[in-house]
Symmetry: C2
Subunit: 123 residues, 2 copies
C-alpha cells in the first residue's frame, strides 16, 4: 500500500496545516488580516492615527489600506472627520463593522477547514 | 435586515476569496507552494541545480528548502547523488512523489473551500 502523508511526516513535531485568506479583485488584494486589524483598532481608538501607531504602521500606509478597501466597497468603510488630517478622528460606517463580522465568520470556516486537514496528518 | 457581505462589496469587480496554505511545525513552515514546485522541477530535470535555476532561486536557497523539508520527514524527500555538489544530480525518493500528490489533493480541497466562500460574495 502506498504511504500516506502521515507515514511520511516525522512524528511528534506537532505538524499542522495553516494558511491565510484574503479578498481580491482583478487589481489585487484589498481585505485580509491587516486591513481587518486596522478597522478593529480604529473601532477601539476612534482614530486612524492611533490605530496605525498601535500596528507600527505609517499613517500614510494606513490610509493606503483604507482607500484601497473603500475603492472596492459600495459604501466606504471609513470616513475621515473634519478637523484636519490627523486631528479629526475617523468614523467607521456600519459597513466596516459588517466587514469585521464577515471576516470573523470567514476565519471560523477556515479554521474548521484547517483543523480537518490537520487531522489527516496524524489520524 | 443587516447587510451581508454581498451588499457591501462593489458589484462587478470579480471579487473572490483567495489564500495560501502550508505545513508548519513548532519551528516554522516547511512545505508550501515553493518547496512543492522545487520538488516537481527536480522530478522533471533530475537536478536541484537546474530546478533552482528555473525558479530563479540560488542553489544555496534550494538546499535550505530541501534540508528544512527533509528535517520534518521520516525519510528524506531528496538525496544528493555522488559526483560533487552540483555535478551529481539528485534523486527524489518515493516520499517526494507522495508529497507532491498530497499537496495536489490538499490544493483541490482548498480550491473547493475558496470557491464555496467566493460564491457567498455574489449569491
Amino acid at each position: 500500500m502506498a504511504k500516506s502523508i502521515k507515514d511520511i511526516l516525522k512524528k511528534n513535531l506537532g505538524t499542522k496545516v495553516n494558511g491565510s485568506l484574503w479578498l481580491e479583485s482583478a487589481d489585487g488584494r484589498f481585505l485580509g488580516p491587516g486591513p481587518i486589524e486596522l478597522l478593529e483598532r480604529i473601532a477601539e481608538t476612534g482614530s486612524i492615527s492611533a490605530a496605525a501607531k498601535e500596528m507600527k504602521m505609517s499613517y500614510k500606509k494606513a490610509w493606503e489600506l483604507i482607500n484601497n478597501l473603500n475603492a472596492h466597497l459600495a459604501t466606504p468603510a471609513v470616513i475621515p472627520q473634519a478637523g484636519g488630517e490627523k486631528g479629526g478622528g475617523s468614523v467607521l460606517t456600519p459597513e466596516a463593522m459588517e466587514l469585521i463580522s464577515y471576516h470573523r465568520e470567514l476565519r471560523k470556516s477556515f479554521t474548521a477547514f484547517l483543523e480537518n486537514e490537520s487531522k489527516k496528518l496524524t489520524l
